[in-house]
């Protein structure tokens, strides 16, 4: 499974939790109100697990997490190998 698919599955199953709401890599999540800022904490931790990267504090803003595609771009841009 690709990183994007893993993230989509996690967000659909554990965050949105509504069978009739389908998301893809480019679905706006934060700006659409589908998820709130509290959920971003979980998503960011999942992103670190999926990519095996550590996202340094202060380097990611909600707008960088608005879609799954943006999340993965952000992780690739600022992520560091985990200890």
């Amino acid at each position: 499974m690709s990183h994007a698919q893993e993230m989509i599955e996690h967000i659909s199953k554990n965050v949105i939790r509504k069978a009739d709401v389908q998301i893809d890599e480019n679905t706006p999540l934060v700006s659409s109100g589908l998820i709130d800022s509290f959920a971003l904490v979980d998503i960011l931790m999942q992103l670190e697990d999926v990519t095996s990267l550590r996202i340094p504090a202060g380097k990611v803003q909600p707008k960088d997490m608005d879609t799954v595609a943006l999340m993965l771009e952000t992780a690739a841009r600022v992520g560091k190998p985990r200890k």
């Binding site: 589908l34 904490v41 608005d66």
Partner: protein, 571 residues
């Protein structure tokens, strides 16, 4: 060394906040703004005074006069603090508003800003270089001018202000609940702020080696008073980060406390749960929180479960149980009304649940009694402050009886700026009617929740009316037939927004997913918080009051009767 002795009459001795700033030792560290391991900025009091002076001189060049209002909208950081202090230095009156986030609807933000600007009759709006230009179109029409600081003004020399501020002069305006346009500006004098800080410092047994940590926004009383005014007046260092950086990565708070050896911090209740549940156990092993002597749970009802989860999660990080404190605070009293004492865990009691619900009396029972409810005290009143529990007739009720909390003291506000209508409702005979429900036992104040329908999400106050207005705007929703409710979410330790709305016709229910999606998008863009769930109902479902308006309490009751699963999840 303690700044305070046991004599409660001891005061810091300044007449104004700016006098306290002027007296600060130039070499001592004041504020650090942390944005990441390779991006932090620290200023001494001397450097901060120069930055504030530069803003003060710039404002004078703009022709801002004593007493005129200046709105400051800048990203959380030292320039924002310097602009605020610089405004006070020339005797003008600053008010910080929230910085727009990327979710904001430009039209709504413009309207809100225009509303606040008009109400304050602001002379100037100070924004930073990154502030979106399209959000400023509205301002000039109201007589205010916009001043953009792409870079900090030149820091010359310490500005020797010659206006003779009086302790009774207005120092600044704090904004209370509501969407931007409906926000209530709480007008506070220098004297009221300094008296509040004196009493708070005394209760906290403030020391000159204390170090404050904060992620709290400066437009909120916890951030502005406890984490900016307190260290400014008592010449203490404060380590800050932005609320967004913290909420995205909660581990940064214990990381910074560990690194800075911070001793005092304030947080809303939900933060304790977020720290317990959203920081990996393996990360916690690296933290040393033994320096903390006061982590104060403030701004939402204090919940035992949140305390227990936090204490359990950080037991191996050196955090002392007796360092987790509680407080009851509000902008209308500058800040704290109560504060539990340092060095003691806040008192807990268990009360008979049925008697509380049905008889509105807190009867203390053993924790083992079935349906006993646990309450954590918010502490006793700080010096010169009083709380009275009042019945529906506005008269005091007996000890242990539940009622609306009314507060008074030597720092209670004198009114909402330019809003005599709102002031008359909330402030009567020197008492502020808080709209909070609670009870008092043995002098300890227990806050249960809101009498008004206010929803508190992550420490942010949301009026249900604001949410409902947004819902009504949807073409498939019957105008005037929606109710927004706050519902405690145990997982998050704060309230969720639930929306119950009638569709225009049954056929609309087939498009429920689309309607819900549109409403959620509108709520987040206008209020900046997400609605957790929307329940669309057929016509004539919402319960109306005799006045023909939706009854929140009756609709709530009907809703939970029909949706017991919601209670089961997070009652």
């Amino acid at each position: 060394m303690s700044i305070f002795n046991s004599d409660s009459s001891v005061t810091v001795g300044y007449r104004t906040i700016t006098e306290a700033l002027a007296a600060a030792p130039g070499q001592k560290t004041f504020a650090t703004m942390w944005r990441g391991d390779d991006d932090s900025e620290t200023v001494t009091f001397g450097e901060f005074k120069l930055q504030a002076s530069a803003f003060a001189q710039e404002l004078l060049r703009e022709g801002v006069a004593t007493g005129e209002r200046v709105i400051v909208i800048m990203e959380q950081g030292i320039p924002l603090m310097a602009a605020f202090a610089g405004t006070m230095m020339i005797g003008a009156v600053p008010a910080i508003l929230a910085y727009p986030n990327f979710k904001v609807d430009p039209a709504k933000y413009r309207n809100g800003l225009a509303g606040v600007s008009a109400n304050l009759r602001a002379r100037l709006v100070l924004v930073d270089g990154d502030f979106p230009e399209d959000l400023l179109d509205c301002i000039s029409a109201d007589g205010a001018t916009v001043k953009r600081f792409g870079e900090l003004p030149e820091s010359g020399s310490w500005f020797s202000f010659d206006h003779a501020a009086d302790p009774d002069d207005l120092a600044f305006i704090q904004h209370s609940a509501g969407t931007t346009g409906l926000q209530k500006g709480v007008a506070l004098s220098h004297g009221a702020v300094l008296r509040q800080l004196d009493h708070l410092a005394e209760r906290l047994r403030l020391r000159d080696d204390d170090r404050i940590y904060s992620w709290l926004p400066l437009y909120h009383d916890m951030g502005l008073i406890a984490c900016f005014m307190l260290p400014l007046v008592y010449h203490l260092p404060v380590m800050m980060q932005s609320p967004t950086d913290w909420v995205m990565q909660p581990r940064t708070m214990p990381e910074l406390i560990t690194a800075d050896r911070s001793t005092i911090a304030w947080v809303p209740n939900f933060a304790l749960q977020l720290l317990a549940r959203r920081v990996r156990p393996e990360d916690r092993a690296d933290f040393d929180l033994s320096s903390m002597r006061a982590l104060i749970n403030c701004s939402e009802p204090v919940r035992a479960q949140s305390h227990d989860e936090f204490l359990s999660a950080y037991a191996d990080s050196g955090f002392k149980r007796e360092a987790l404190l509680s407080s009851y605070a509000m902008a209308e009293n500058v800040f704290a009304v109560t504060q539990s004492p340092v060095g003691f865990t806040p008192k807990r009691i268990w009360v008979n649940g049925a008697m509380l619900r049905n008889g509105h009396i807190a009867q203390v029972v053993s924790p083992s009694v079935p349906n006993a409810l646990c309450f954590v005290s918010s502490g006793t009143c700080i010096a010169e402050n009083r709380v009275e529990v009042t019945g529906d007739d506005g008269e005091p009720v007996d000890e242990g009886q539940v009622g609306e909390l009314a507060v008074t003291g030597d720092s209670v506000f004198t009114g909402y700026y330019n809003r005599p209508d709102l002031t008359a409702r909330a402030l009567r005979g020197g008492w502020y009617w808080t709209g909070d429900l609670g009870f008092v036992l043995d002098g300890e104040v227990y806050v249960i929740g809101r009498k008004k329908d206010l929803i508190i999400v992550g420490g942010k106050n949301i009026y249900p009316q604001d949410v409902e207005e947004i819902v009504y705007a949807h073409p498939s929703i019957h105008d005037g037939r929606a109710v927004a409710l706050g519902h405690y979410n145990e997982e998050l330790g704060t309230e969720d927004i639930l929306i119950i709305a009638e569709v225009e016709s049954e056929a609309d229910l087939a498009n429920a997913t689309e309607i819900e999606r549109n409403i959620k998008a509108a709520v987040i863009s206008e209020l900046g918080v997400a609605a957790r769930a929307i329940y669309l109902k057929p016509p004539r479902w919402v319960v109306k009051s005799t006045a023909g308006k939706p009854s929140r309490s009756d609709t709530r009751e009907k809703f939970f009767a029909e949706h017991p699963e919601v209670i089961g999840v997070s009652a």
